[in-house]
């Protein structure tokens, strides 16, 4: 393992991290202890694992996000198609 002092590591941090990413074994020696640098996969057990990555862009209005749904709804109504029943309401009715 290659070791660096904290000062040296700080001065070349980006290059050091790139080397670690490439698989080099690098540690930082501080007060007689070596702290190893390694790439880790991040696992989170909280809700963030279930939420998507948010975009930095401003969110469009629902009318824009839902435009294909509204359009398909209008087309189905124009065709005179029978509406889909709401399975949630049917399930609740059965349960109660």
């Amino acid at each position: 393992m290659k070791t660096l002092s904290p000062t040296k590591a700080r001065q070349n941090l980006t290059a050091v991290l790139d080397k670690v990413k490439r698989g080099e074994d690098i540690g930082i020696l501080h007060n007689g202890t070596v702290y190893g640098l390694r790439v880790v996969a991040v696992y989170s057990q909280d809700q963030t694992t279930l939420t998507p990555v948010a975009s930095d862009e401003a969110a469009p209005p629902w009318s824009e996000i839902m435009a294909p749904v509204f359009k398909a709804g209008r087309a189905a109504r124009a065709r005179g198609a029978k509406p889909d029943p709401n399975p949630i309401l049917e399930e609740r009715k059965r349960r109660r």
């Binding site: 398909a72 189905a76 709401n86 399975p87």
Partner: protein
């Protein structure tokens, strides 16, 4: 405005030709609303979207749902402790004592809405709306 929408509403929101869609779509067009979002809603909605009977409507609903999930300001993520929610639902269920006609699992939504301190509770289920009103929430119930 941030509102809590239960699964019956969300299904009518995403399914283009659900029985309640016209009234829901009219509301969304007129009212700038964002929704409280949590793991329970997400799981229940994803399960329900698979059960939309018409294939074309199902595909459109999934597409819109995936598009909506990208926007954190439109679906406002609410951290949920399952234990808190179940405790709250049980308390609500005891207080409700069957008066609204809503079951304990329905009261999970009322509990989640109370935890989120929502301004408005949206549903297409009359019993759920009664339960939410009894819990002190401002409610909008949509009819087919």
């Amino acid at each position: 405005m941030t509102a809590y929408a239960d699964t019956s509403y969300l299904l009518a929101f995403f399914n283009p030709h659900a029985a309640h869609s016209p009234s829901v779509q009219k509301f969304v067009t007129r009212t700038p609303v964002d929704y409280h979002w949590n793991v329970i809603l997400r799981a229940e909605l994803r399960h329900s979207l698979r059960r939309i009977p018409t294939a074309a409507n199902r595909a459109t609903a999934w597409q819109a749902y995936r598009a909506a999930e990208k926007w954190r300001t439109r679906l406002v993520h609410q951290p949920v402790s399952l234990q808190n929610v179940i405790d709250l639902a049980e308390t609500r269920s005891l207080e409700d004592n069957g008066a609204s006609g809503a079951g304990t699992w329905d009261l999970v939504h009322v509990g989640l809405a109370l935890l989120a301190r929502t301004e408005l509770f949206l549903t297409c289920d009359k019993a759920q709306s009664v339960a939410a009103r009894r819990a002190g929430l401002k409610v909008k119930c949509f009819t087919a």
